[in-house]
């Protein structure tokens, strides 16, 4: 058997694995003359089109509000079935998009930012629209402005419900005085700790409480509203009076207070560093070079969080090209890459089963901090064996297994190790060969 494509430059492999997922047949050859340009050009690409029948979050939020109101068990069962079906459709659409798109960087960025702004089905109430959150609040902004994404994420009903802000009431607001209720600082805290400044970003408990007060009233339109299930600002829940956050005073300005506070948080230097660190960890190495992080942070700061420029600075940093295969794939990444390399994306139920057993079921991150992004969190004896078994299972499920040597060459090119190629050649079946490819140390990394 001979190699079907000319050996591609190692940088091409690096580009498709880091700024995409894995090369499809012929892709390495197409980009080998200019891997960096290939990555950069995707920042101008049209977003992928997703199935039109995925329901808007407002539909699913309204369904959950109804479920909460109606105690009727038959209705509840029907809505549970609907939630499950929507979940599986979202999952399949997400992986299919990544496996089939010509602009995989946009999908990788979507996964990265969706994880940054985690909304997790661990809170059962949000299961039905965690996928819609990604489509509505994350996707439109991955090459836009960070401040726009931040605002879209924090005011999205999924986030407001996941982090309890929908129930947060200013103690001195009309409703607070009447009902004797108070703030829930969950969203305020996670916005500072996870979404913007970072845990060492220099904020205090007072700042957490101030942001929570600023965000009071940010909630979800109730069932009796024509806007049921959409974002709604309730002035009667909003804490009156000035608030002091990170040394700035926000005068009582209703909804706009929150917009102003988030806009300021988006351009805070600590936010630049926090985002730059996470991006570098995702795209370069678990412990990225500090000077690269500093450079990305500078670009973030100087461009006012222009994510096109920020992502370009990652692509253009020398260190991203200097440390090939420095990242171990997360399970979601491995599954997505295998689908893309083999040209087969299994249906939703199979994907859900796979990712559940690999402990990374999308939209079910264990905490608001999202999934970890380092090898140490994902490598264990059990998980490595499980991943290997998954590779075999996946290869066994391919409806029409392609030639493993051709797929190995097409997906790993120059990066394919001679021992791996030999093992694939000697494999007793096509499926065994493909399983070895997906499980190989090269394919397990990016």
């Amino acid at each position: 058997m001979h190699l079907m494509t000319a050996p591609a430059d190692l940088n091409a492999v690096l580009a498709v694995t880091r700024f995409g997922f894995a090369a499809r047949a012929g892709e390495l050859g197409q980009i080998s003359s200019d891997p960096r340009g290939w990555a950069l050009r995707q920042l101008q690409a049209q977003p992928v089109s997703l199935p039109a029948d995925l329901p808007a979050s407002s539909t699913m939020v309204a369904l959950m509000l109804e479920q909460r109101r109606d105690k009727d068990m038959t209705d509840r069962k029907a809505s549970e079935e609907q939630i499950k079906a929507v979940y599986l459709a979202e999952l399949e659409a997400r992986i299919r998009a990544a496996a089939e798109t010509d602009a995989p960087l946009l999908e990788r960025l979507t996964h990265f930012w969706s994880n940054h702004f985690t909304v997790s089905g661990f809170r059962p109430f949000v299961r039905g629209f965690a996928g819609a959150f990604e489509r509505e609040a994350i996707r439109p902004h991955v090459t836009g402005r960070f401040s726009d994404m931040l605002l879209a994420a924090e005011r999205h009903p999924a986030m407001l419900l996941y982090l309890d802000n929908a129930e947060s009431i200013g103690p001195d607001s009309q409703a607070g005085i009447r009902r004797g209720k108070g703030i829930n600082e969950n969203l305020g805290r996670e916005t500072l700790e996870l979404h913007t400044l970072g845990v060492n970003g220099g904020y205090t408990q007072n700042d957490v409480e101030a942001l929570a007060r600023i965000l009071t009233g940010w909630s979800v339109a109730r069932l009796d509203s024509p806007d049921a299930g959409n974002f709604q600002f309730y002035p009667q829940l909003h804490e009156p009076g000035p608030k002091r956050l990170l040394g700035l005073t926000y005068n009582d300005d209703g909804y706009d207070e929150g917009v102003a506070a988030l806009t300021n948080l988006a351009r805070h230097p600590a936010t630049s560093r926090h985002i730059a660190t996470k991006l570098a960890r995702h795209f370069i190495a678990d412990d990225p070079p500090p000077e690269t992080v500093a450079h990305i942070a500078d670009v973030f700061h100087q461009t006012g969080g222009d994510l096109k420029a920020v992502t370009a600075s990652v692509i253009n940093s020398d260190s991203v090209w200097a440390q090939p295969f420095g990242k171990f794939r997360t399970p979601d990444d491995l599954v997505t890459a295998s689908c893309r390399a083999s040209g087969f994306a299994p249906p939703g139920p199979m994907l859900a089963q796979s990712l559940k057993e690999l402990n990374q079921l999308p939209f079910y991150a264990p905490s608001p901090a999202g999934w970890p992004d380092d090898a140490a969190s994902w490598v264990s004896p059990e998980s490595v064996l499980r991943r290997a078994q998954w590779c075999e299972t996946f290869a066994n499920r391919l409806p029409n297994p392609p030639d493993p040597v051709e797929i190995a060459d097409a997906s790993l090119g120059e990066a394919l190790h001679a021992d791996t190629l030999e093992a694939i050649r000697r494999a007793p079946s096509r499926r065994d060969g493909l399983a070895l490819l997906f499980a190989s140390p090269e394919f397990q990394r990016r």
């Binding site: 499950k84 661990f122 559940k356 490595v384 499980r386 299972t393």
Partner: protein, 405 residues
């Protein structure tokens, strides 16, 4: 986590042709329409090239012990030796679970069988075993699916692929169903074994895999392999739960009538062993699986023909690693209540004149066996078998006398 799974994850997957469009359905019989007749056919694909000389050693051949060297089996009668079938042939002790079927007339061996293919690539040879062709033509449907198209008479759910994917053998225009057990399926210990060297020098994956295997061996030693999670195991024991499940599905009155299963682990280049060892263990897993299937089928076994076939055999001589390399002819097993068994069929080519000075010669084209089964078990027209099911094989006469009248 309570999302997205039906509580029962054993699922039956309906495949629309070869497009891979899956849908969930409940197990098992309800989705199958009534099928004309009660006759069943099971095809087991032994992937990786099973050593036919180890499976059914020609202990009566004067050259046997000499040519096989360190992997020659002790003759029948010796402690742990081969199990006599007749004066000439014996059965590997690993296949002991199949031995009782021989005197009952429910086990027939067709020895020195193979197809007309002479390269020794697993991938190509398996494709040909499944397409039923003599040369690679990029054919995307299997001979069993083409046979189904003649059998179905309006029923489109006659066939069942066991193990999660539909093998090429069963792929084609006729819709078939597939079934797999819960959990990840890892049927082949060779896969994990092959991964070992690739991970050996990897500081992250190497130690983790080693520990993982240790931990898994420990838990399967404690829990046994029949923990209801058969699909999670690997190695020879992974076949039995699949085979048993297939038997149950085939036994159901409204169940499928045709099934295809895979078993790997046959590519024994290294330390294949003799009476005991790696290959004997794989034989044991196979034999116990088939026995479990037959038991699970109950009376339906009487209406069944099972054929187990591999893509090619292995070298007569042992190689430098106490294993064997890719060869030519192997043996195939024909079993079931409908089989005229209790004998070793075929013209033994002997070990004195070898193919390319290294391999057992093909005496029987395995497609003639398949044709004989399809003609005499299902009453398919031999002309159609030679044109539609196995195209351009009008000259390959169906093997006579495999099936009880």
């Amino acid at each position: 986590m309570s999302c997205c799974h039906s509580s029962r994850r054993d699922f039956l997957t309906l495949l629309a042709g070869s497009t891979g469009a899956f849908a969930l359905a409940n197990l098992p019989g309800a989705v199958f329409a009534a099928v004309p007749g009660d006759r069943r056919l099971v095809v087991v694909l032994l992937r990786g090239a099973m050593d036919g000389l180890a499976a059914v050693p020609p202990v009566g051949d004067r050259l046997y012990a000499e040519k096989r060297g360190s992997i020659a089996l002790q003759p029948p009668g010796a402690a742990g030796g081969a199990i006599a079938l007749d004066k000439y042939f014996a059965l590997n002790p690993g296949l002991a679970a199949l031995a009782p079927y021989y005197p009952k007339g429910e086990l027939l061996i067709v020895h020195a069988s193979g197809n007309g293919y002479h390269s020794r690539s697993h991938f190509d040879a398996q494709d040909l075993m499944e397409t039923g062709l003599a040369e690679m033509h990029g054919q995307s449907d299997g001979w069993l699916n083409r046979a189904l198209s003649l059998l179905q008479r309006g029923d489109t759910r006659l066939g069942l692929a066991v193990g999660g994917s539909v093998p090429l053998l069963l792929r084609g225009p006729v819709q078939v169903a597939s079934w797999e057990p819960e959990g990840f399926q890892a049927t082949d210990g060779d896969f994990i074994a092959a991964l070992g060297p690739l991970y050996a020098n990897d500081p992250l994956l190497g130690p983790a895999l080693k520990e993982g295997i240790k931990a898994q061996s420990f838990s399967s030693a404690v829990l046994g392999d029949d923990t209801g999670k058969g699909g999670m195991g690997f190695g020879p024991n992974a076949f039995k739960p699949l085979a048993e499940a297939a038997g149950k599905l085939l036994a159901a009155p409204q169940g499928p009538r045709i099934a295809a299963l895979d078993m790997g682990g046959w590519d024994t280049h290294v330390n294949q062993g003799a009476e005991t060892g790696r290959l004997a263990q794989n034989f044991q897993g196979f034999a116990e699986g088939i026995d479990a299937m037959a038991q699970a089928m109950g009376p339906a076994w009487d209406d069944t023909v099972l054929v187990a076939v591999t893509e090619f055999g292995r070298t007569v001589a042992v190689n430098g690693n106490n294993g064997t390399d890719h060869g030519t002819a192997s043996a195939l097993f024909v079993m079931g209540g409908r089989v005229k068994g209790g004998r070793v069929a075929g013209d033994w080519p002997g070990l004195d004149r070898l193919q390319d000075d290294r391999d057992l010669r093909v005496a029987v084209d395995s497609r003639t066996v398949m044709k004989g089964i399809l003609r005499d078990h299902f009453g398919l027209d031999p002309d159609l078998l030679g044109s539609r099911v196995f195209p351009d094989t009008a000259g390959l006469k169906p093997f006579d006398g495999l099936i009880r009248a």
